[in-house]
Point group: C2
Chain length 221, copies 2
Amino acid sequence: MRVEFQADLREVSRLLVELAEGARVAMRRATTALLAADRAAGEAVIEQDADLDDLYRQVEEKVADILARQAPVASDLRLLITALHIAADLERMGDLADHVAKTALRRHPSPAVPAELRGVFKEMANVADAIAGKVATVLAEPDAKLAAELEADDDVMDNLHRELFKVLLGDDWPYGAETAIDGALLGRFYERFADHAVNSGRRVIYLLTGETVTDGSVAGS
Amino acid sequence: MRVEFQADLREVSRLLVELAEGARVAMRRATTALLAADRAAGEAVIEQDADLDDLYRQVEEKVADILARQAPVASDLRLLITALHIAADLERMGDLADHVAKTALRRHPSPAVPAELRGVFKEMANVADAIAGKVATVLAEPDAKLAAELEADDDVMDNLHRELFKVLLGDDWPYGAETAIDGALLGRFYERFADHAVNSGRRVIYLLTGETVTDGSVAGS
């Protein structure tokens, strides 16, 4: 029974890693669609989103199957419920990549992001990519130290988000309302992507240590 | 055992109804903060958000407790996992009300929403309130017909959201980027609030009928 349960958990963990890596690839392609006005990259993200939704359902089915067969209690049960939450966060990250890709495609062949904002979006994309990569690593091999790094990464993302808004709201903003709105929504998509990733990391820490990392701006979102 | 399980489910359902009603009240107050520049209403939303987070945790604990004690299978198990998803949607609705309230407070005592947009926001708030009310009703007493109405309500919300963007992006938009960004983000908060509510309704339908209502724009978000 115990051996079988361990094998079940490995399968859940494998699916979660696949989902995390899928969300990471999706956001990377969405960024290419956004910053290189690359239509094919944007369309690939939209196509891929169905695969991520499917992976999410696989996690749900696998967890339901384990609960039914093994009737786990205490920490094993907590682990499975946490896996469901992590899957929901990762699936949502895929949705946010999809939103970025759709924004890029809506403006194509014009760039959705004007020259003044390319630098900050490039940095936001880099941080998002690093965070998603760490989440995939932590899920494959739980590591509280690496998971804790995500908090600092999230602070970097929040600073970039603030910097973006400073440009958007500057007196010398040379573009109209439409470009400002695109910039604000895109910024929110990257920032939420990072939030969900960091949330996953927090849940891994919780599993490893039993300690809840709370932060009003992210917990439960 | 069966009688005990039914009592357990009633308790979960009671908590979900409380959470749905809490989210509804939160958005109603947030709208007052937004449209009447009412600081006390905005502050009440922010205070109340911790109560909603706490209710959410109570659902999680109760479900974990039932899983451990009763080891349910098949449809009973599906029901409990669905309850977790519904709780996550409702908790997120509370977060979105919190975002509306914070936006209103950030601009206080100026209104965050200019005169041109008050009408559309009032309508969005009315639809959000109706949807949240139906979700609370359906959770208290499952009713597939009422749950199905949520789809039409969501279409109304989507139309209002499009109407809002038409004003924001009109050539005659008389305000700057900041007001346009506030309008776009606020519109998104109401629209997402409705999405999460409709998602909950879909999950109730799924429990009642076994049928999945799919819609790419909302499923899994």
